[in-house]
Amino acid sequence: MRSITKTVFLIILAFFTGACDNNPYTASLSGKNILFSAFSTRIKYLDPARAYSSSEYRFIRQIYEPPLQYHYLKRPYTLIPLSATEVPKPQYFDANGNVLPENAPVKTIDHTVYEISIQRGIKYQPHPGFARDAQGRFIYHNLSESALSNIHELSDFEKTGTRELVANDFVYQIKRLAHPRINSPIYGLMSEYIVGLWELNERLQQVDKEQKLDYIDLDNYPLEGVEVVDDYTYRIRITGKYPQFLYWLAMPFFAPVPPEAERFYSQKVLIKRNITINGYPVGTGPYMLTVNNPNYRIVLERNKNFHGELYPLEGAAGDKELGLLRDAGKPLPFIDTAIYTLEKETIPYWNKFLQGYFDAATISSDNFDQAVTISADSNAILTDEMREKGIRLITSVRPTNFYFGFNMQDTVVGGTAESARLLRQAISIAMDIEEFISIFHNGRGIPAQGPLPQGIFGHKEGEKGVNPYIYDWVNGQAKRKPIAIARSLLAEAGYPNGRNEKSGKPLVLYLDVRGGGPDDKSMFDWYRKQLAKLDIQLIVRATDYNRFREKMQMGNAQIFWWGWHADYPDPENFLFLFYGPNGKVKYGGENAANYQNDKFDALFEQMKNMDNGEARLKIIDKMVEIVRYNAPWLWGFHPLEFSMHHDWEHNVKPHPMENSSLKYWRIDHEKRENYREKYNKPVLWPLGLMLALVVIITVLAVRLYRQREYRRQAVNN
C-alpha cells in the first residue's frame, strides 16, 4: 500500500515539477532527423493492387516503385523512369502481327506492345518472407501457431532476407490485378486493355471456387498479354492504341510484388494476427513500413537496401528562386524516419502543428481565419501570427472538377433542342460560383471555365481561357455575365420570368445532391436563392450516396452535383466525361450527364490517341468549345489545396499526381527544436488562481466544520 502511495505521489510530483509537458512524443525522438505528420482516416489498403486513395498512396508511394514516376518539379507533369531504365516506347502491330510505324492510323493498330527494361541491382527491403536457412529453404513459409507465440507485428520476426528485383515480380503484380480475392479497382478497366486479363480472372475464379486454396501461385497461371523476356525485361501487350497506359505505369498498381511475400502472407496464422500484405507492404522504395497500427501510428523508416536516387537537377520556372534546387544532385532520401499519428479532430491537429509537433498541416474551416486572410484582390495571405512563426502557405490546384451536371436525357433541361441549351446557359450564369467558393470553401477554389483544370494540357489562362458564354473579359479579369443576360436567355428558352410561356406554369427544377445533414441546409438555401434570381423554383433532393448513385445510373436526376478527380494528367481523362459511348445510363460509364454529340465523339476518338502537340491542342480547343456551347455541365470549380509548412521543412512542392514527395523533403531538426522551445512556454498564473480558489474554499469549509463541531459540543455539554 505504501509503495502504491509513493508511486502516485511521485507521478503527481513529476507532473507538477515539469517532467510533464505537452510533447506527444517520447524524449528519445527529440533532435532526430524525423518527419512528424498525421493521418486523419484509418488506412484500409496498402496492397498496391487494391489501394487507390490519396491517403493510401501517401504511404505506399514511398515503398513501392512502379516502372515510372512523375518528375517532382517539372510542370506540366512529366513521366520519367523509376524502376525502369527508360520510359518505354510503344510498338504498334496490325492484326497479322506486322510492326506498324509510330504514325500509323489508329484503325490499323490491332495491339500495342510495351517492352519495359528494369534497372539491375535493385533489392527489396529486408523482410522475413525472404529469410532462408542454411539449406536455402524459406524459414517462415510454414508457420505454426506455436511458433508465433511472441509474434504480434512483422518486426517481431528475428530473421529477414532480401533478393534482387526481377521482371517476373512486375508480371506477378499485373496478374494480381485479376485475382478474384483482391478485387483490384482497376481490374475492370485494365481487362479492356491488357490482353488475357479477363480470361485470367475467369480461370482464377474457377480455381478459387474448386480448390479453395490459401494461396494461389499466380506463376502457374500464364497471362497472355504479359510475358517475362528475361530477368530484367518484360512485355505488356494491350489491345489497340492507348497512349495513356504510360500514366498507369507510374501508379502502384504496376509496382513489383515478390511472390515469396504473398506466399508468406497467405498463412492463416499470420492473417489471424492481421499480418497481411495489405498491412505490411514489401517494396524496393526509399522507405519501408516498420510500424503499422492503423489505430494510432504508422512509421516509415529509411530502407537500408534502397538502390539510390538523386534529387532532380532541373525544375520548372521559378523553382530555383524558391530554393527548390538547393539540393540538386544530392542522394535521396534526406529524412531518416517519418512518424504519422492518427489525428481525427481538427482542433488538436491544428494545435499540435502550432506547437511544432507536426511539421505541416492542411487548413480546415475551423482554423481558416486564424491562418489565412483573403486580400482585396482575392488572394490568400497568411495572418501576421503565422508569419511571425515562420510558417509558409503553399497552394496548389487539384486536378479535380466539382460541377452541376444537367441530365441530357431529361425532357426539360436535357436534349439538343435550342431552348434547353439556352435554359442551361441561363442557369449557368445565374449560379454565382465565385460566391459559392467564397461562402462555402473559404475561397479555396478556382471557378472552372471548362472541363480542364490548371496543369492539364489544353488548359488556357487569361482571356483565351475564358468561357465566353458565362463570362466577359473586363479589365483583365473574367467577370460573370449580368443576371439580365440570363433572364433574357431564359425568356428566349421559352420561360419568361421563370414561367412556361405556353402553359403559364412556373418552372420547377430538381437538384439531386448527396448529404442532407444540418450543415448542408445553408448550402441548399443558397442553391435555391441562385435560381430564384431567374424566378425558377428549385427543389433540392438530398439523399445518401448509394441512393444518389442509383438515381444517376437510372438517369432519374435532372440536375446533380458531382465531382471528378483525375487518374492521370491527360486531357483525355477529363474529356472522356462527355464522350457518348461513356454515358452512365446507357453504358454504365463516367459520363454522368449522358451527353452525346457526334462531332465531339469523333474529335475525342481522334484526340485520345494523339501525343501532346499543336495538332492535339487544336482538337482539344474544338472539343472544349463544343461543351461550353452546349453546357451539359454548369462549370463549377477546381479546388485549391492550402497547406501550411514550418520553415524547417525544405523542398516542398505540391504534386497532386504523385504522393511520393517524402523522399525529396529535408528537415532542419535543430530549427524545429528551437521553435518548440520558444512556443511551448507555459502560462501558469490561471492555474495558480484556480489553486488559490480551492484553498479558499477549503479554508472556509474547515472553519464551518469547526464552528459546527463547537456548537454541537456546546449543545451536548
Partner: protein, 326 residues
C-alpha cells in the same frame, strides 16, 4: 445462487438474439449488401462482377432471412442472418468488411487503451463524486451547500464537448502539462491518459455528486443515524462509516452494471483524444459502414451489459445479507 445465475444466462440468449436481430434489421434497412460493396469498392472503374465477388467473399450474396432456394433447414441456415449471427454466440466475430482484418484480434488489441482510460475515469470519478456528495450532506443547509448545488447544476448543463475543448486549451495549450491528444503503448500511456481522465471526472462530477447526494439525504434521516449521533459518534464518521455502508444498494445499482461496459470504451473521449480503443473502433465502423464490426460491437456490448446486470444482483447479496437470489 448458482441456479439463479444459470437461469439469468439462459434468459440472456433470447435477449442477445433479439438485439442481434434488431441491429441486423436496422442496418440492412439503411444499407443493402450492394450498397456496402459499392461503398467499400469505391467510385471508379468498378464492374458488376467485382461487386458480386465482393459480396460472395463476405457471404453477403445470400438472402437476408429466408432462402427459398432450399427446402429443408437450409431455408434458415443459408441466409446472411443465420450465418452472421451464430458465430457471434461463440464470440467468433470473423473479419471486418472493409479490409478483412480479424475482429477478435483487433478487439484484443484495442480493449487495453479503452480500459486504461475508462477504469481510472470510473474509479476516480466514483471516489470524487461520493466524497463530494458526502461533504455536501455534511454541510447541508449552509451557503457552501447552496453554492455547491448551483455549481453541480452548472456542471451538468455544460456539454461534454466543451469540457474537452476547454481541457485541451487549459492543460495542453496554456499550461503545457499534457499532450493535447494521442496515445503511446505501454507505461508511457499515462501522459496521454491524464487529460481525458481529468476531463472525464470533471464532466461527470455534476450529475454524479447530485445523484449520490440525494441517496445520502434519504439515509441521513434514518433511525440508525440518529442513534449514532446520540451516542456521540462524530458527524464525519457517521457519514463515511454508517451512511455510506447503508447506501451501498442504490450505489451498486448504478455502479456495478457499468463495470463490464467499461471494456467497450468511450465513444467521444477516444475519438477526440485519438485513443485507439474500442469506442473509436465502433465510431469508425459506423462511419465506414462496416457492418461486421458494428454487429460484433453491439453484440459484445449487449453481453457485457447482461453480465453487468447479473453482477449487480450478486453484489446485492454481498452488501445486504437480507437479499437472497433464488
Amino acid at each position: 445462487m448458482f441456479n439463479y445465475i444459470l437461469r439469468r444466462l439462459a434468459y440472456a440468449l433470447p435477449i442477445l438474439l433479439g438485439v442481434n436481430f434488431i441491429t441486423f434489421a436496422l442496418f440492412f434497412m439503411v444499407i443493402t449488401p450492394d450498397d456496402m460493396a459499392r461503398l467499400h469498392l469505391g467510385d471508379k472503374h468498378i464492374t458488376q462482377e467485382q461487386t458480386k465477388q465482393w459480396k460472395h467473399e463476405r457471404g453477403y450474396d445470400r438472402p437476408l432471412f429466408i432462402n427459398s432456394a432450399h427446402q429443408d433447414i437450409e431455408v434458415i441456415k443459408d441466409t446472411i442472418f443465420y450465418q452472421k449471427s451464430v458465430r457471434l454466440f461463440f464470440l467468433d466475430f470473423g473479419t471486418s468488411d472493409a479490409d478483412r482484418r480479424d475482429i477478435n484480434y483487433d478487439i484484443s488489441q484495442r480493449v487495453w487503451p479503452s480500459i486504461a482510460i475508462a477504469v481510472p475515469t470510473f474509479v476516480v470519478g466514483l471516489l470524487v463524486n461520493i466524497t463530494m456528495a458526502m461533504l455536501l450532506v455534511f454541510f447541508r443547509g449552509t451557503q457552501l451547500d447552496t453554492m455547491a448545488v448551483v455549481m453541480t447544476v452548472i456542471l451538468m448543463s455544460i456539454s461534454s464537448l466543451f469540457y474537452i475543448i476547454a481541457g485541451q486549451f487549459l492543460m495542453s495549450k496554456l499550461w503545457h502539462l499534457t499532450p493535447i491528444s494521442g496515445y503511446e503503448l505501454g507505461f508511457d500511456a499515462w501522459r496521454f491518459l491524464i487529460l481525458p481522465v481529468v476531463i472525464g471526472v470533471i464532466s461527470g462530477m455534476g450529475a454524479g455528486t447530485r445523484w449520490y447526494r440525494s441517496i445520502f439525504f434519504e439515509e441521513i434521516n434514518r433511525d440508525y443515524v440518529r442513534t449514532a449521533r446520540a451516542k456521540g459518534v462524530p458527524e464525519l464518521k457517521v457519514l463515511f462509516r454508517h451512511v455510506l455502508r447503508n447506501a451501498m444498494v442504490p450505489i451498486l445499482t448504478g455502479v456495478v452494471v457499468v463495470i463490464p461496459a467499461l471494456f467497450m470504451g468511450s465513444l467521444i473521449m477516444e475519438t477526440f483524444f485519438a485513443i485507439p480503443g474500442l469506442g473509436s473502433y465502433t465510431i469508425e465502423a459506423i462511419q465506414s459502414y462496416d457492418f461486421a464490426i458494428v454487429r460484433s460491437m453491439v453484440f459484445l456490448g449487449s453481453v457485457l451489459y447482461i453480465i453487468g446486470l447479473v453482477l449487480t444482483d450478486i453484489s446485492y447479496t454481498w452488501v445486504d445479507p437480507r437479499v437472497r437470489l433464488s
